[in-house]
């Protein structure tokens, strides 16, 4: 359905536009800011993109100015993006982070934040972001994307701060574009620069990271001091490490090697911090990065490492985030994380570094290690240690520690409730009983309660198990829903003996995970 698939994104966008625009006045009447409506739009589009039911929605969006961030790409972006977007699902969260970047001109990349993402958003190093046009940008340095205090996500300024962020991929030429003044109220961007060259598709982070990190190291020392001065006075400052890393310094020193695929990211100005300290960069939980290839360990490492040294509170937040089940893609940039950590010259960071280095690349193990550092695992273990069926949950935890798990892999550290729910579901699904109405009593009790209920349900369930599965509740996450359905209106339904003819119109179909639409459909089937 090639022709159909090309219509669908446009149609969907037009519908989205209609709805959003027609609701704009209503929202204003309710006293809500435009930002809320924009949030809705972003969430909506991100979810659609996440579902991958529509091809090319991101591409379509390129032409629509709904971007949140305007990023400049480094001048040395390659034009080739052969690499398809590999979506990385960070579990536990419902949010998919997909970035659509308008890279047409090359200079500006517009990023729309995925749903559920709240600012600031931290993009760990080693992340490859895919723009709407399919270009891949690799972020070799953890960056923090934040929102301006006013809530305007649009970044009008390319870079409020002059200088190249610690991210190497700024070129000196690009740096020149940036104003040297530090504007706390503006979003900082790590930009690459005027050149519009797209990123090279190479997801290769490590090889490039090496020279870059080294450069980074060399750059950081000179960069940091000047950075810190303007930053420190600010009451709420992002972890200095971050700032040093991300804030552009007036010295735009060396042309930083343009990392292929490094995406400029805007940073939140320190002024933003007061409103965000309670939020961890991953406050929204998990995010799904489309087109991101992580060559190295988790982003979590980066965020933790970068923030740990300076913001213990952020560490706590990270823990909390972890505990809330935010899973991070296992592949982050451990190497880069180490580099970053080393650069920061902080004892706490060093501890983390040591700890990280000693761990395998396995993300789950890293997560567990990190958690252990915070003594969180003890509490978690205590909570998870339940009698009876709950024993398996402890096994699950161990599995988490031990290595990749099946369905739990993406959940990372799950909350107790989530684990219990899973336990309940596992128990109930076998019995065919729905007992998971939020009852957090011991598993034994739930199991006992399920039996009498189950027997009654079995009889009715067997007749139409496929269509009306109302009693079995499964709580899980899915990568892709592969069921097919068709929602439409009928003009006429005709039957002759056992031959049925359908005359349908104005339908939306979903099959093979993809969406289709039609104005008329004619079908026949034999019963």
């Amino acid at each position: 359905m090639l022709s159909n698939s090309s219509h669908v994104p446009k149609l969907y966008l037009s519908i989205i536009d209609d709805v959003i625009e027609s609701m704009r006045e209503v929202f204003l009447d309710e006293g809500l800011e435009d930002r809320v409506l924009d949030d809705l739009r972003q969430l909506w589009e991100s979810k659609i993109m996440q579902s991958k039911a529509v091809d090319g929605l991101a591409l379509m969006k390129n032409t629509i100015n709904s971007s949140n961030f305007v990023l400049q790409l480094p001048p040395n972006y390659g034009q080739t993006f052969s690499k398809p977007a590999a979506s990385m699902v960070i579990p536990a969260g419902q949010h998919v982070q997909s970035f659509t970047a308008k890279n047409n001109g090359g200079t500006l990349a517009t990023f729309s934040l995925p749903p559920g993402m709240t600012y600031p958003v931290q993009i760990p190093a080693g992340v490859t972001l895919q723009t709407a046009s399919g270009q891949l940008y690799k972020v070799n340095v953890p960056v923090m994307v934040t929102q301006t205090p006013a809530g305007h996500r649009h970044l009008s300024q390319v870079q409020p701060r002059q200088g190249v962020p610690v991210v190497e991929w700024r070129d000196p030429s690009s740096a020149s574009q940036q104003s040297a003044t530090v504007v706390p109220s503006t979003v900082l961007k790590t930009m690459a620069l005027p050149k519009t060259e797209p990123f090279s598709p190479q997801p290769v982070a490590p090889p490039r990271a090496d020279p870059q990190t080294t450069e980074q190291k060399s750059l950081i020392p000179p960069v940091q001091p000047p950075n810190e001065k303007p930053l420190l006075p600010q009451p709420v400052v992002q972890p200095p490490v971050q700032e040093n890393n991300f804030v552009q310094q007036p010295q735009v020193p060396s042309a930083q090697a343009t990392f292929s695929g490094q995406t400029p990211v805007s940073f939140q100005p320190p002024a933003q911090l007061p409103s965000h300290p309670p939020e961890s960069p991953f406050d929204s939980g998990d995010f799904n990065l489309d087109g991101i290839d992580f060559d190295s360990p988790q982003p979590l490492d980066m965020s933790l490492s970068s923030s740990s040294a300076h913001m213990p509170s952020l560490q706590v937040k990270m823990e909390t985030t972890l505990s809330e089940g935010s899973g991070f893609m296992g592949q982050g940039s451990e190497f880069e994380a180490r580099e970053m950590v080393k650069q920061e010259d902080h004892g706490a960071v060093a501890d983390m570094t040591t700890h990280l280095e000693g761990l395998p690349v396995d993300s789950t193990k890293l997560e567990m290690a990190l958690l252990k550092d915070y003594n969180y695992n003890d509490a978690l273990a205590d909570i998870i240690q339940l009698d009876g069926p709950a024993d398996s949950s402890s096994e699950e935890v161990e599995e988490l520690e031990g290595g990749a798990m099946g369905e739990n892999e993406f959940l990372g550290m799950m909350t107790v409730e989530a684990l219990q729910a899973l336990q309940e579901v596992d128990g109930s699904s076998d019995d065919g009983i729905s007992s998971s109405s939020g009852d957090s009593v011991g598993m034994d009790e739930i199991t006992v309660e399920e039996d009498p209920l189950n027997s009654g349900d079995d009889v009715s369930e067997q007749d139409i198990p496929d269509l009306f599965d109302t009693d079995n509740v499964i709580v899980c996450q899915y990568d892709k829903v592969c069921f097919s359905f068709l929602v439409c209106q009928y003009d006429k339904i005709h039957r002759s003996k056992n031959r049925w003819k359908f005359y349908l119109k104005d339908g939306v179909m979903c099959y093979g995970g993809k969406d289709y639409v039609f104005s008329k459909a004619v079908g026949e089937a034999e019963w």
Binding site: S22, L43, S484
Partner: protein, 121 residues
């Protein structure tokens, strides 16, 4: 009032999820979310009626059929969807069809209940 039939599509579901998130963060009221959904109903009905101009044929075997409240529900197996350019085969598809002659709100209200469980597989 336009059919609320399309709320359980990718587009509709993603909108509902987004609205749910905003409600949870208390950025909008449930009332407002409902208004958004109503507006969505209108928009998608209009869009499908006016902006889509293609035709699909399909053929398969009918597993079940139901007609209730002027809503047809079919489950077809081994279906081939054929458009001019392409052919897609699906093992199982569920078709929910409201009356195209009248846009009656109440006739499909049952579809709104348990949206995710209603359409299975």
């Amino acid at each position: 009032m336009a059919y609320q039939l399309y709320r359980n599509t990718t587009l509709g579901n993603s909108l509902q999820e987004s609205l749910d998130e905003l409600i949870q963060t208390q950025q909008i009221t449930p009332q407002l979310a409902l208004q958004v959904l109503l507006q969505f109903d209108k928009a998608i009905n209009t869009a499908l009626a006016n902006r889509v101009r293609n035709r699909v044929n399909f053929k398969g075997s009918l597993n079940t059929y139901r007609f209730c409240d002027n809503v047809w529900t079919f489950v077809l197996n081994d279906v081939e969807f054929r458009e001019v350019t392409d052919l897609v085969k699906v093992d199982k598809v569920k078709i929910v069809a409201c009356d195209g002659k009248s846009s009656d709100y109440f006739s499909h209200s049952s579809l709104i209940i348990r949206p995710r469980l209603f359409l299975t597989q």
